[in-house]
């Protein structure tokens, strides 16, 4: 204690102590403000949401399990054999949904990859080009897939092609952004080396940048594939084919067994793809697979 007193007597240390106190007070204030803002937005938001909702929260709480129970009862009545045959029946639609996601991701990989090189500040000297490409990316990324799918379904009719184009459009922007961030973190020495022996811009990109960033590109692509499988399942709801379209139909008809089978298939497929892609990503970029 005596030592502490003598420390406090030191004017420099007293100053330090004061600064520390001030900073910790400031910190506590910021934390308090943050918590207050979070609590306010949650409670305010819930009030707005409950106000606009057609049913109320507390009356709904008791009914929460009604629908799942209804579905399970429907499945129980159908029996195991019928459930298996339903799985078999819906399998082609599941494959279609996965195909939509796969094709869209594949196209977005190439187009987004090409776009990303033009949107990286370290690779393109024209600032204006980078700026324009980034704004293009922002807009394509901001488009919800659903909006494009709705428009396309009106123009080309209900078809999985609408879903492919919608998912692809959004994915191009999303992938190009992640790709260009990877490009900007790439080591520029390889590019300089190739430039010094007379390689043109395309060769610099192909041999200087691409080998460095490709593992990351693949990794982002696999993550995007997971997202896209979910998205293409949802797009079926607006008539863009796949398992989502079937789900919408059986939900409208209230076929408990069918609904449960489709949900089960979707969840299994999504989890399986998550699992496989995590494993593959680990081989590409090592343990930092979560990015």
């Amino acid at each position: 204690m005596a030592a502490l007193h003598s420390l406090a007597a030191n004017p420099k240390l007293a100053q330090l102590e004061q600064n520390f106190q001030r900073l910790s007070r400031q910190r506590a204030l910021y934390t308090f403000i943050l918590i207050a803002v979070v609590l306010l937005s949650i409670s305010g938001g819930l009030v707005v949401a409950a106000d606009a909702n057609s049913g109320s929260f507390f009356s709904g709480l008791s009914r929460f399990f009604d629908y799942p129970v209804e579905l399970v009862r429907g499945a129980y009545d159908a029996g195991l054999w019928r459930l298996f045959s339903l799985c078999w029946h819906y399998l082609p639609y599941l494959i279609e949904t996965i195909n939509i996601a796969l094709l869209a991701t594949l196209i977005a990989f190439f187009l987004g990859g090409a776009l990303s090189f033009l949107a990286s500040r370290n690779l393109v000297s024209q600032r204006i080009l980078v700026f324009c490409m980034r704004r293009v990316m922002d807009v394509t990324r901001a488009f919800p897939e659903m909006v494009i799918a709705l428009l396309l379904v009106l123009i080309i009719g209900p078809s999985p092609v609408a879903a492919v184009m919608a998912v692809c459009f959004h994915s191009i922007g999303a992938l190009a952004k992640q790709f260009s961030e990877t490009n900007e973190n790439a080591d520029m020495r390889a590019v300089e080396g190739i430039a010094s022996v007379g390689g043109n811009w395309l060769q610099q990109m192909r041999y200087g940048i691409l080998p460095q960033v490709l593992p990351n590109f693949f990794s982002y692509c696999l993550l995007r594939l997971e997202v896209n499988v979910r998205a293409s399942a949802i797009l079926g709801f607006v008539g863009a084919g796949g398992l989502g379209a079937e789900l919408k139909m059986v939900v409208d008809w209230n076929y408990g067994a069918d609904i449960l089978v489709i949900i089960f298939m979707l969840v299994t497929a999504i989890s399986l793809i998550d699992y496989i892609s995590a494993a593959v990503r680990r081989t590409f970029i090592g343990d930092a697979a979560t990015l």
Binding site: Y67, V139, L150
Partner: protein
């Protein structure tokens, strides 16, 4: 360009044989991958039936929608049963939006009129004969009206002119249309721009320029004795019956609420669950396994399916959407955070423990600061993607801007409203995106993503 000497080249080739002359297997990788991709594309071409879809594409509908999304059309019509009304000029042919004065491109008196269609020529109606002069054709196209169905008396019929037993329909370009039927003559012309975007057709403020409105706002003379000019301007704008600015703003708020509240609750709830699911915090293998599977389940059941279940329980509306987002994201955050906790550096926690801290203090001061940046950045990152998800599940019944969008699309006429809503959604998403990256940089410093 530096030239490498032959001898040097050989020396390099000997030193790095794999680079200059790559093994056969590596050489084959690129062509095989290319072939596989092409084969897959071919399979997709067949299985998605792209050939017949390409034939089905309705470019005419697409261009009409596109035109309608940025332009409005004005109808000039004459009904044979109501000759006393003469030629009526109205917006989109609506009975409530009839102009009291003819615009300068329409001159009419009784049953005769002369209508200028700009670049598409002009139409003259005289003594029951509609004659249309197209700038590319030497002769007028004439239609005789009167008793029964109209008769086309012109010699040639270009492809944009359709004559049927009941009507003559000419569409010289997308921007104009001339239709003569048994009961009426109707001429439509498109003009660029959103009509009545600020104020309703019959609002006292309609047609006033921006400067006039501003000067009105500050003038003491009241247009409406009941309220001040500023509140009149605001209410005329906010309750615009065609554009529904107020309703759309409220719908946007609902969508935003779904995204923000769903993300926040998910993050706050997932944090303790993630600690309980981390190997280095919770020694109980069974409970850990259970939590992990719970996260997988919450995440795997997409928020679309959660929203179906919640809509059944809580009814249509943003509350159901909020819960759907909150359920899915609790799973996602739980998984991400628990992995981060497991990867956290042990030394800090041990250091805190060595000072005699309780277990709670150990994790609060030893582990939590390490995962805080990830916690914040993931939540902000998901906020942006949830804004888009909220729009989507909104369209499927959770309300908000998604539902408004679907409603305007269903009418297949209000394409200008659809465009307006899409523009607002995109602006909202881009704003949230920028805000979240700004906050990320501010809160955790550096350029992390």
């Amino acid at each position: 360009m530096t030239h490498v000497h032959m001898l040097e080249m050989n020396a390099i080739a000997r030193k790095y044989p794999d680079v200059v002359d790559r093994p056969l297997l590596k050489k084959l990788v690129a062509p095989i991958v290319t072939l596989l991709i092409l084969a897959y594309l071919a399979v997709c071409y067949v299985s998605f039936d792209i050939h017949s879809v390409a034939k089905r594409v309705r470019f005419d509908i697409a261009s009409l929608y596109l035109l309608d999304s940025y332009a409005h059309k004005i109808h000039v019509s004459y009904r044979f049963k109501k000759p006393e009304a003469g030629f009526v000029v109205s917006l989109e042919g609506n009975r409530n939006t009839v102009y009291s004065e003819n615009p300068d491109w329409v001159q009419s008196s009784g049953a005769n009129a002369s209508i200028d269609l700009g670049r598409d020529g002009f139409v003259r109606v005289k003594d029951g004969i509609v004659s249309y002069r197209h700038p590319d054709y030497a002769q007028d196209f004439q239609v005789k009206t009167g008793q029964g169905a109209p008769t086309y008396t012109g010699r040639e019929t270009p492809e944009w002119l359709r004559v049927s037993a009941t009507q003559v329909d000419a569409r010289p370009s997308l921007y104009s249309r001339i239709r003569v039927t048994k009961s009426r003559i109707e001429i439509q012309r498109y003009f660029a721009g959103w009509e009545n975007f600020w104020f309703d057709f019959d609002s006292p403020l309609n047609g006033k320029s921006f400067g006039e409105v501003v000067s009105l706002a500050f003038s003491a003379q009241r247009l409406d004795p009941q309220q001040s000019n500023i509140s009149l301007i605001f209410s005329e704008f906010w309750y615009n019956e065609e554009w529904l600015h107020g309703d759309i703003a409220y719908a946007l708020l609902q969508t935003l609420v779904m995204a923000v509240v769903g993300t926040l609750i998910a993050g706050i709830l997932a944090l303790p669950m993630a600690f309980a699911a981390a190997r280095n915090v919770n020694r109980n293998r069974v409970s850990r396994f259970g939590l992990r599977r719970l996260f997988d389940f919450l995440r795997g059941v997409d928020n679309l399916i959660w929203s179906l279940i919640f809509i059944r329980a809580f009814g249509l509306g943003p509350l159901s959407g909020t819960f759907a987002i909150f359920f899915t994201d609790t799973g996602t955050f739980g998984k991400l955070f628990s992995e981060a906790i497991e990867n956290a550096d042990k030394k800090q926690a041990e250091g805190v423990q060595a000072t005699g801290a309780s277990p709670v203090q150990k994790y609060r001061f030893g582990v939590f600061p390490q995962i805080l940046p990830l916690f914040i950045s993931q939540m902000l990152y998901y906020l942006e993607s949830n804004t888009r998800s909220a729009t989507v599940i909104g369209a499927l019944g959770a309300g908000g801007i998604g539902l408004k969008l679907l409603e305007t699309m269903r009418t297949r006429q209000d394409w200008e409203n659809t465009t307006y809503i899409i523009a607002l959604v995109i602006i909202l998403v881009i704003l949230i995106d920028n805000l979240s990256s700004w906050l990320r940089a501010k809160l955790i410093g550096g350029d992390s993503h």
